[in-house]
């Protein structure tokens, strides 16, 4: 019996497609991909906006914590006073020490 030769069929298929099918299928796929790109960019923007908002809130919280806590206010006020003023303020008590009568 003669052996079957694959070349007699080659890559031919018994199937056909409607005219213009591939052009239409490509157009549909490209349109879907464009939506996907827009969607992808929108997600990036939304994530960036959320991150920026979160960062701003955290920044504001840290700023409030640093500048409004009582200890920090005391240190801040102290740093605003010059050394001369401090010296003047402390030196007022020099005489008090001298006048203490220890028996």
């Amino acid at each position: 019996m003669k052996e079957f030769d694959f070349n007699s069929v080659g890559k031919r298929l018994p199937y056909s497609v409607p005219e213009g099918f591939f052009a239409q299928a490509k157009a549909q796929a490209k349109s879907a991909s464009a939506k996907r790109v827009v969607g992808h960019n929108t997600i990036i923007y939304k994530v960036a906006l959320a991150a920026a908002t979160l960062l701003a809130i955290c920044g504001a919280a840290v700023w409030l914590e640093v500048y409004t806590s009582p200890e920090n206010q005391y240190e801040r006020l102290l740093s605003e006073v010059s050394s001369d003023m401090l010296w003047e303020y402390v030196s007022e008590y020099d005489t008090d020490i001298e006048n203490i009568d220890i028996e």
Binding site: V9, L13, V17, P18, F22, A32, R36
Partner: protein, 181 residues
């Protein structure tokens, strides 16, 4: 059409040229994927549905494609193959048949004229392929029609290269036997 997978991957990874890359991907693979799907599901409408579904899955997952650019074709084929297998599994569930025996039913669709069969020899050849077990059928189609290397077939099917070679060898033998009946 010669496909430069490296260029497609490069463009897709550039945000400002992403749509250009996706367009090139569509141009390059729409026809090969359609024919691959058509050989699997036989009916044009099913192949068309599977193609659209495959593209949506590919676009959704393209950001997760981490393979080398030469693996892009196999990656797209793998998604399309899984989509077609899902369709066939649904068909099997409705008709209480296995994935291996669904080919006999699909052969009947060629006879009924659903597949617009113009040539007797080509129809016979397709019936021979559809008579194969599912795995052999898939490997045979990828090797014979899509001229894939065993390495690529292994990436698409998830079976080892040596198993692909064995499957192709047996498939060839069975198709020959079928055609000489």
């Amino acid at each position: 059409m010669r496909v430069d997978s490296a260029e497609i991957v490069r463009l897709i990874n550039l945000p400002e040229r992403r749509s250009e890359g996706l367009s090139l991907l569509v141009e390059a693979y729409t026809e090969p994927l359609y024919w691959h799907l058509r050989r699997m599901v036989v009916v044009h409408e099913d192949a068309e549905d599977a193609l659209q579904e495959s593209w949506l899955k590919i676009f959704a997952a393209i950001d997760h494609f981490r393979g080398e650019s030469d693996g892009l074709k196999a990656w797209c084929y793998r998604i399309a193959t899984n989509t077609a297998l899902d369709k066939l599994r649904k068909r099997c569930r409705w008709r209480w048949v296995t994935l291996d025996s669904v080919g006999a039913e699909l052969s009947g669709l060629i006879d009924r004229g659903d597949a617009n069969s113009p040539e007797e020899l080509e129809s016979m050849f397709q019936k021979a392929i559809l008579s194969l077990p599912a795995k052999q059928r898939l490997v045979f189609n990828l090797r014979y029609y899509d001229e894939m290397e065993y390495r690529e077939i292994s990436q698409v099917t998830g079976i080892s290269e040596s198993a692909c070679k064995t499957n192709y060898h047996y498939a060839q033998q069975r198709v020959k036997e079928f055609m000489m009946r």
